[in-house]
């Protein structure tokens, strides 16, 4: 190294804290007396500052690369995390609904019997007063008095009963738990073309078939009522009524 490099080297040694004792004092004296040396020291100090700044930028840039990888991975994980719990929640709700449906179905299957069906759907027929009607027949009188046995006895003794008497007798058989005879009587009512009690007879005939353990025969009648919005008993036959009849058919093995 030549002599011209000496002042510069001294400056660096001074900056690096390598000058001590007399050497340090001599340099500081020279520095105070030599503005050019001071200017060079300032620039050298600035160069060192630039290195420090560069070093920090480099360090941050290196950490930046690793952190961006980590943060992106984390962001992706969180994104998935939102979807997975939502999917799980939907699955849980679906599973709960499915199990609930199964349990309810099992309950309905167990509890749906002909007697429970009739209990839920059968209401004794009520005779209404007919305008201009002069007098009531013995069958009608017995039925109005809830005397099902009397109604049946009188009916069976009547040679040519009217449609109304046939219908009330059928109701009496049904009320007296004689569904087979009720089926015959309701069928006779329906055999009369244009019978006044057609809608009533269809509905109660279906009830009679259910009571008699013949749900498969009740089904077409109930489907017809369900599909006919003008039928008197349309509102009484819902989809659920038909499902219950299907259960009875399945259980009866027909």
């Amino acid at each position: 190294m030549d002599n011209s490099e000496q002042p510069g080297e001294k400056i660096v040694q001074y900056l690096d804290g390598e000058l001590t004792g007399q050497e340090l004092r001599n340099f500081e004296s020279e520095l105070a007396a030599n503005p050019a040396l001071q200017a060079e020291l300032d620039n050298m100090d600035l160069a060192r500052t630039a290195v420090m700044h560069y070093g920090l930028k480099q360090q941050v840039a290196v950490v930046h690369q690793t952190m961006m990888t980590e943060l992106r991975k984390e962001s992706a994980t969180q994104g998935r995390g939102k979807v997975v719990p939502l999917f799980r929640t939907v699955l849980k709700v679906a599973a709960a609904l499915f199990i609930g449906g199964l349990l309810y179905g099992a309950y309905q299957y167990t509890t749906t019997t002909p007697s429970s069906f009739v209990k839920d759907n059968y209401q004794p027929y009520t005779v209404s007063a007919e305008r201009g009607e002069a007098s009531k027949s013995a069958i009608e009188t017995a039925y109005i008095n809830n005397d099902f046995k009397g109604t049946i006895t009188t009916f069976e003794k009547t040679a040519t009963p009217t449609v109304k008497e046939q219908f009330l007798a059928a109701q009496a058989y049904l009320g007296n738990h004689q569904p087979a005879k009720a089926i015959t009587a309701f069928s006779a009512v329906l055999a009369n073309q244009g019978a006044a009690y057609k809608d009533d007879a269809e509905y109660y005939l279906a009830d009679a078939y259910i009571q008699n353990g013949q749900p498969a025969k009740a089904k077409p009648l109930l489907v017809k009522i369900h599909n006919d919005a003008d039928h008197l008993y349309h509102s009484k036959v819902t989809r659920w009524t038909l499902v219950k009849v299907d259960i009875l058919i399945f259980k009866s093995g027909n």
């Binding site: 560069y54 920090l56 950490v63």
Partner: protein, 250 residues
Amino acid sequence: MVNLKILRILESKIPMPSPVFYNIRTKKPTLVTIAGPAFTNNRNSHMKIAVVSFSDAELIETLRNKHADDEVIRFLYRSYYGLLSNYIRQNQGSEQDAEDIFQEVVVAFIEIIKKDKFRGEAGVKTFLFSLNRFTWLNELKRRSRASAREEKYDNESDADEKDVSHLLVEREAKGMVMAMMDKLGDICKKILVAYYYNDLPMKEILSLVNYENEQVLRNKKYKCIKTLEQMLAADPALAQRFKSALAYGQ
């Protein structure tokens, strides 16, 4: 003295939703204050990773007294990158803009702390947000596509931003000086950074570069710093601007 209070240690297979920290025993997220030196070991994805957290005071104290540790920088990323990058993206910035600005903010923040220019009147979060906003709006100005926003910004900037505005000037000057550094070449940069920034002894630097002995290395180091000094001396205006930029309002 900063006390180490607790570490979170997790298998790195478990995602790290920072800045939430996990209780080692319960494995449940917990807000804990952790401070002190960094403890990391992530050589591969199956190793355990320790994440260290700092309160504002601990962060300032650590940065002021020590060489900026990687863990401190990682903490800044984990805690504030989401918030600050969101601001950039919501104000016409791209993802790359957000990353670049955040790097600058981190560098400026560390240098401001080291120069003892952080007054601490606002919290670190508020201060970083202001630095981020100011840096980004300056960048928009530089791109000459935000004249209307300039006016809006001048009217809307609050006390916190006015507080940081005097700290951040001459980004371009910094950039130009960094370009000078690049002209020095890789060996010079490696030696100078190792010596002045990483504070490594010559013996250790010798193992990083291919030189015969310490004296040869010492001569090389002198030539490198001298070259940089001469570059700065050749452009006194730039040197002055760079000096002002890194003085952070001194």
